[in-house]
Amino acid sequence: MISYIIRRLLGIAVTIIFLSLGTFALSRTVPGGPWMKNAEIPMSDKEVAAFKEKYGLDKPFFVQYGIWFWNAIRLDFGRPFTAPELTVTQLIFKQLPYSITIGGLAACLAIFIGVILGMIGAARSNSTLDNVIVSYSVVVGTIPSFVLGFLLAYFLAAKLHWLPAGGWGGPRNWVLPVIAYGIPYTGGVALWTRQCLLEAMTSDYVRTAYAKGVKERMVMAKHVLRNALIPMITSFLPMFPGMMTGSIFIERVFGLPGLGQYFVQSSSNRDYPLVLGITMFWAILIALTYLLTDILYGVIDPRVRLTEKRS
């Protein structure tokens, strides 16, 4: 297992290097530059030259990349052009707790509600209740979170005054964004859970278990849920880094700090250090999540461990 993890980590490192090179090249290829952000009158060539010199952008491409890479392996991703008092790493880790709070809670909510609905749907397959759950899942999955956000804010904040419409305060402020962010995901989670459970429930080993006289509760817990968990984990675990790194829509609608806006703004601002830093952070997070998923996969499914040993 350890050698497997080491091999995977090496693979991740190589992927990250290529990704950084690609992102570095693309960010420099896109028209414009940090000197042209929102400028109604573009800078003259001489002014641009002065700007580039100031920020070290006048050096040849591979020299710039080499400097960046050398610093990056020491976890120094430079300073954002738009936030010069912080390093990229500091900026990411200052914003991350806000995104993790809202995104993490929303992911938990989505999985909690979605799994329950999926289990009910699978248990009552093809019943009216199942049809209602499937219809709910399809409808809710098509509602953008910001539309739901505005509706929630209108009814629960503006009309009923039950909850604040946003802002970063206490847990009361988190309720609406978490619901608006999490609910649209419940549909997908419910449908996937239902499908995984139904597949497991119609498997030969379940039929055999019933034939051997194993009680239904035991069959569901030991055979159906355990086998259904495998595809569910591979699908649900990567939801967390996706949701926990923030959503610009949720942040804008509810007035929340977070990383989501930086994903978008760093690109439109041509804030090269931040673009690189956030891309690397995101890539590493996703890669590590998939590694964790694979490890968990092995924990849940003994056959994966056997394959590993044989190889």
């Binding site: 414009g32 400028a39 200052k94 904040a157 604040p164 946003g166 930086y262 439109s268």
Partner: protein, 637 residues
């Protein structure tokens, strides 16, 4: 042992106390305090004749003396006042307590940017000027009035301006604000790749200092003495005081008196040095900035608020209705449901205030490239160099009808670059041939240019700059009109700000472009300056040197009446050139709570209740407004 009070004694004591209290309340309050008093020593009037116009400039010599006086402040029941804030300003009687005099606002795109406005404009600074004074500001009638400077005069030949700085203005570290501080601020900005440098290119040598061709000390700005700032201009610049609304002073001490790199002092509460009504006390990037009252403020702004808190604000009308957002703007891009909701609600309706249009959308043609690339990448002769082609494309667009259909009344059709109601706005431009929708005439013009019914006309990309919903809709309508009326195909190319600017204004390769321009200051020059020839720093792909020379003469004319007349002519020629086609000037409905009151929220001379969010170009740092104890919003709850 204490003596027990009898009922009679208790009633007597209570009566005496009450009577005493009443008498005390009605009698004058005698307050002894040391005040700084300005004694008017000499006042003269100088009559200066400039061509045909007579300007009366009042020169006042003031001597500042410290005197100890006994002030008798009579407090009567008829004119009660509210609490006195930490700057010593008494709030009106209906004001809420000081702890509630807090203005909460959005934090801006990048949460504070580089901090000070003279560090960076486009990587947004804080969205108000609470921590510094600008050279000038606007009053609610949009007139340029003093802020960091009290008065200003132009030299007889128009080559420089002298600004008399506001007396007694001090930094929060106790040092006086001197003319040399203003000199330092501008020199440092221009020498350090300031992204708004072009705005100051009317100042002598500014463009060369920004390009590092000259050293900062060669910039045309100098301190004549501690209280007089002189600014030299490349040519006579009658509107220079208007430009001063953006010129905010920074303390050289905060920079360690170095013209070099920034040390981010303006993002650090421990290092912040303010001469404005607020001082930075908390800064968390993208999360929260807090500005507390600068108790050492000696400027001329009357600011009631005790604190400004900037943090991400929830969006949408619902957040405003819930009281979680303190301002909201409706414009053509809002869902119609929001407009209906506002109209149906008496409180929201009363809180809706139409704002004057401040920008104009237009499309333009590339007139610098002899060859242009089509959507297929083929190089073809530039057809827009033929004025008949441009006229045909302009006359084929029924902008009056489109504006009515797309904006629901929240825009005026534009016939020139100056928005409706802006100084020197010329309604007669509507009658220009280029502005008359006439499909038959357009077809004839196109046929005369060699493209009957659009036959053989190349297909170009039509660049749109980061289009809003209504800009996309309008561009699609134009595309459809050209196709239907002239048989000309174009491909819309929405591009982000930077990609657009690179193609349209930097490389000047875009064949057609659709863009807007917004006012920076309240003078026609704010719009017309950017239409100067591309070879002399204008932004558009059109090297209209002849027009530029005539315009520069008009713009630099010191006789203000004559200047505006000449500029009117320049704007007319701009429209007639059909190098651009001006489409519409949108405006917004600003909503702010009815319990936010004060002199600056009142209607101005044109009836506008202006609320620009405290940004530059309007009343700064929310001066002249406070939270009142009115119950006018209760029905919203």
């Amino acid at each position: 042992m204490a003596k027990k009070l009898t009922r009679r004694e208790f009633l007597l004591a209570t009566g005496i106390s009450t009577l005493g209290g009443l008498l005390a309340a009605c009698s004058p309050q005698v307050v002894k305090e040391v005040v700084k008093e300005t004694q008017l020593v000499k006042e003269t009037q100088v009559v200066k004749e400039v061509v045909k116009e007579t300007q009366v400039i009042k020169e006042t010599q003031e001597v500042e003396v410290q005197v100890e006086v006994t002030k008798v402040v009579e407090v009567t029941a008829a004119a009660p006042t509210g609490p006195v804030n930490s700057r010593g300003i008494a709030l009106p009687a209906d004001a809420l307590p000081l702890e509630e005099q807090v203005w909460r606002t959005g934090i801006g795109g990048v949460g504070g940017g580089y901090g000070h406005i003279m560090e960076s404009l486009y990587n947004r600074t804080f969205e108000h000027n609470g921590g510094y004074e600008a050279l000038t500001t606007l009053n609610i009638d949009f007139e340029t009035v003093g802020n960091g400077a009290d008065s200003w005069t132009i030299s007889e030949d128009g080559s420089y301006w002298d600004f008399k700085l506001h007396k007694g203005l001090t930094w929060s570290d106790g040092n006086p604000v001197k003319a040399s501080d203003w000199v330092f601020t501008l020199q440092r900005s221009l020498a350090n790749s300031y992204d708004f440098a072009w705005f100051y290119f009317d100042i002598k040598n500014a463009s060369k200092v920004a390009a590092k061709e000259l050293t900062p000390d060669q910039l045309g700005i100098e301190a004549i003495d501690d209280e007089t700032l002189r600014i030299y201009t490349e040519a006579p610049t009658p509107y220079l005081p208007s430009i001063g609304t953006w010129f905010g002073v920074a303390s050289p001490a905060a920079y360690g008196n170095s013209l070099g790199e920034t040390n981010n002092w303006a993002l650090d509460p421990a290092k912040y040095i303010s001469c404005g009504p607020f001082i930075l006390t908390t800064f968390e990037r993208g999360v929260k900035s807090e500005w507390s009252a600068n108790t050492k403020y000696t400027g001329n702004r009357v600011v009631y608020f005790e604190k400004i808190i900037e943090s991400p604000m929830p969006g949408g009308l619902a957040a405003y209705m819930a009281g979680d957002a303190k301002q909201y703007a409706l414009d053509g891009s809002n869902p119609p449901a929001e407009t209906m909701l506002v109209q149906a609600n008496p409180v929201l309706r009363s809180e809706s205030h139409p704002q004057p249009p401040t920008y104009t959308d237009y499309f333009g043609f590339n007139l610098v490239q002899p060859k242009l690339k089509t959507v297929d990448g083929q190089e073809v002769d530039n057809p827009f160099l033929n004025k008949d082609v441009r006229m045909a494309l302009c006359k084929a667009v029924d902008k009056d009808a489109l504006v009515g259909q797309i904006f629901n009344g929240l825009a005026y059709p534009a016939y020139g670059i100056l928005p409706n109601g802006f100084p020197n706005f010329n309604p007669d431009l509507k009658d220009l041939d280029v502005n008359k929708f006439d499909v038959e005439a357009a077809k004839t013009l196109l046929a005369n240019a060699g493209f009957p019914d659009g036959a053989g006309f190349p297909k170009f990309e039509f660049y749109l700059r980061q289009p809003s919903v209504f800009q996309s809709t309008f561009a699609q309508a134009i595309q459809a009109r050209w196709k239907e009326n002239l048989g000309i195909d174009v491909e819309l190319k929405p591009a982000d700000f930077q990609a657009f600017t690179q193609a349209a204004f930097k490389d000047k390769t875009a064949a057609l472009y659709y863009v807007s321009y917004s006012m920076d200051y309240y003078d026609p020059a704010t719009f017309l300056n950017v239409f100067r020839a591309s070879s002399v720093g204008g932004r558009h792909p059109y090297d209209n040197i002849e027009w530029t020379n005539a315009y520069n003469t008009a713009n630099g004319t010191l006789d203000l009446v004559k200047r505006l007349e000449l500029m009117k002519q320049s704007e007319k020629e701009l429209s007639e050139s059909a190098a651009w086609f001006f489409l519409y000037g949108p405006f917004s409905i600003s909503l702010f709570p009815c319990n936010l009151t004060g002199p600056t929220t009142q209607p101005n001379k044109n009836g506008y209740q202006f609320f620009g969010g405290g940004g530059v170009g309007c009343i700064h740092a929310w001066e002249g407004m406070y939270w009142s104890n009115s119950d006018c919003r209760d029905s919203l709850r």
